[in-house]
């Protein structure tokens, strides 16, 4: 096992050293990330200030949803966020050199671009979640302690699947940047709010059909011990992490199909 991942670890170590030669951009990225994260939080707080609650949830409860979503996204962003550079690799032909190494393509791409500079975002998100959980006076049980760890990880797998699936579009359509961003960042923003805020077909499509309600909203209900105003039974919150492997499976299929359609570029 260790033997199998050693090449990838070597790739990670190599690229971290390469990145370290650009110290200033490392710093600016970190600062920029924290700034934008802060802007998201600020928008939410302003909304809460005027109405006091959102979708039937009070401030602390909304923050728990937001925190869970943010931690999940930050984890995914750290691990696979740079997959969006796949487009650049396809266009520049770097993917050719990746393909002639005796390693998995996805593993290599991820290892070639681990976003160490996004570590700050993870720490910041975890802080928000911890603060929100305190504010909401969660009655802790062993099961809830487990869920509060599993849910963000499952959420991260979910987001990672979106990252991979949208990046894969680059195999067919090299100029696919905007679409990927809309799905990825739109998905992040959607999951940060209680699902009950949204209505009609929009909610049905994103929360249930695309499974985004299971990333933060339903696990948060279980942690808070609150009934779903939309009427789903209580166990849904506990089962919500199961959406992640389904998403991963779909993303895996999309990825395989994409790789098979890779056509390189003329030189």
């Amino acid at each position: 096992m260790v033997d199998r991942i050693r090449p990838y670890l070597a790739l990670i170590a190599t690229q971290v050293r390469g990145q370290a030669s650009y110290r200033t951009s490392f710093f600016f990225d970190l600062a920029g990330n924290v700034f934008f994260l802060g802007a998201d939080l600020l928008a939410l707080l302003v909304m809460l200030r005027t109405s006091g609650s959102l979708g039937g949830f009070d401030r602390a409860q909304v923050l728990v949803v937001f925190g869970l979503s943010q931690v999940a996204f930050a984890l995914a962003d750290l691990a696979v966020g740079n997959i969006e550079r796949l487009r650049t690799y396809v266009r520049s032909g770097t993917l050719d050199t990746v393909l002639v190494r005796p390693l998995g393509v996805l593993g290599q791409l991820l290892a070639m671009d681990v976003g160490t500079r996004r570590l700050g975002r993870l720490v910041y998100s975890a802080g928000i979640l911890a603060y929100a959980l305190r504010l909401a006076h969660v009655h802790w049980t062993p099961a809830k302690a487990l869920l509060v760890v599993v849910a963000p990880v499952a959420g991260a797998v979910f987001f990672a699947s979106i990252f991979v699936a949208t990046a894969t579009v680059a195999f067919w359509w090299i100029e696919s940047g905007e679409l990927g961003n809309i799905v990825t960042y739109g998905g992040r923003d959607f999951t940060g709010y209680p699902v009950s805020v949204f209505g009609g077909w929009f909610r049905r499509l994103f929360a249930y059909a695309l499974g985004m309600g299971f990333v933060a909203y339903y696990p948060a209900l279980a942690l808070l011990g609150v009934r779903d105003p939309l009427g789903l039974p209580g166990w849904v919150g506990w089962a919500a992490p199961a959406a992640a492997p389904v998403a991963a499976l779909v993303a895996g299929l999309v990825w395989r199909t994409g790789i098979r359609h890779y056509r390189s570029t003329g030189s």
């Binding site: 990145q19 050719d96 050199t97 393909l99 002639v100 390693l103 390189s264």
Partner: protein, 325 residues
């Protein structure tokens, strides 16, 4: 057993282009159009053709980068795309236009990384690296970041990177493109030695004829995705009627006589005391010389073997490529 076997290998690209404001047209380009090829272990094969002939596309299929549209292909007994990772362990690849090295780090670090990527035992790796360092003279820039290397230095690095895991087959796509004369020579010298050892099969694409002339006994010429010649250099000359050149310098200016009685001989130019004749494969040099001495006193005489450029340009003068647009 053949190291590489291709039968009816084809690759089509669907190219979409904007036609007007909203309409898009799509057309199919046959980049490789039915290539048959068998390469034996230890061969050094030159894959030659003009730009856009389909050389890179062929190599990409052989290295598992691109999925063939049709045809059978095995390399080292593997189907390249489905068994990409296993194949990758046994081949080395240099794409002249792409870099497999770590841009921001010293050259040495790329080699260390490759030891892990290919899981080469430390001792073997060190030995292979030492050999390449000596032959390619890497010592002076081993600790220089790759982005600061000259093209020639980088190419020597790429060659080393492709060879550190002792591959059975080495694929080189335009390894000398853009290199200065000295680097070109270093690369050719290195490949000649590699070829002479005979345990590595080398497939080399190029449109630089000097590469081929120097290195390859067997030449495959491809044009518009099709093989138009597969054989030795000599066979290529014979087939395409390449010409030797006889240059005769006389002591004083002469008026050239008639050569119509000599089969295969044509007078190319006459300038004062120098006459140049072109001879095809049916011509007898001896007969020509016998005739020349009757015209005046010969001061010097030289016979030049056919220029490969001429041969290839003759090949390339197929109607589709000679149309100017």
């Amino acid at each position: 057993m053949n190291v590489i076997e291709a039968r009816g290998l084809r690759k089509e690209f669907t190219v979409r282009a904007k036609a007007g404001r909203f309409r898009r047209t799509s057309s199919v380009v046959s980049a490789v159009d039915g290539v048959d090829l068998a390469v034996e272990r230890g061969e050094l094969l030159g894959y030659l053709g003009p730009n856009g002939a389909g050389k890179s596309t062929t190599l990409k299929m052989m290295t598992g980068v691109l999925h063939p549209t049709a045809g059978d292909l095995t390399v080292c007994g593997y189907a390249p795309v489905p068994q990409r990772r296993r194949l990758a362990a046994r081949i080395g690849v240099v794409f002249g236009q792409r870099s497999g090295l770590q841009w921001d780090l010293p050259l040495r670090d790329s080699f260390t990384l490759l030891r892990h990527v290919h899981r080469v035992p430390a001792g073997e790796h060190a030995a292979a690296l030492r050999r390449c360092t000596d032959l390619l003279d890497l010592g002076s820039f081993m600790d220089t970041p790759v982005r600061q290397l000259s093209l020639g230095q980088r190419m020597r690095g790429e060659l080393t990177a492709a060879l550190l895991h002792s591959p059975e087959v080495l694929f080189l796509d335009e390894p000398t493109i853009g290199l200065d004369v000295l680097s070109k020579q270093a690369v050719r010298q290195f490949l000649a030695e590699l070829g002479a050892r005979g345990d590595t099969t080398v497939v080399l694409t190029t449109h630089d004829l000097a590469d081929i002339e120097r290195l390859c006994r067997r030449i495959v010429v491809i044009d518009h995705g099709r093989v138009v010649h597969d054989g030795t250099l000599t066979q290529l000359h014979e087939r395409y009627g390449s010409q030797r050149r006889v240059t005769a310098d006389f002591a004083v200016p002469v008026v050239p006589g008639d050569v119509s009685g000599l089969p295969g001989v044509t007078l190319e130019s006459a300038e004062a005391a120098r006459l140049v004749f072109a001879l095809d494969s049916t011509a007898e040099v001896g007969d020509l010389i016998a005739r020349l001495v009757t015209w005046g006193t010969l001061r010097d005489l030289s016979i030049a073997e056919p220029e490969i450029e001429d041969v290839i340009s003759r090949l390339y003068l197929s109607p589709a490529t000679s149309i100017m647009s």
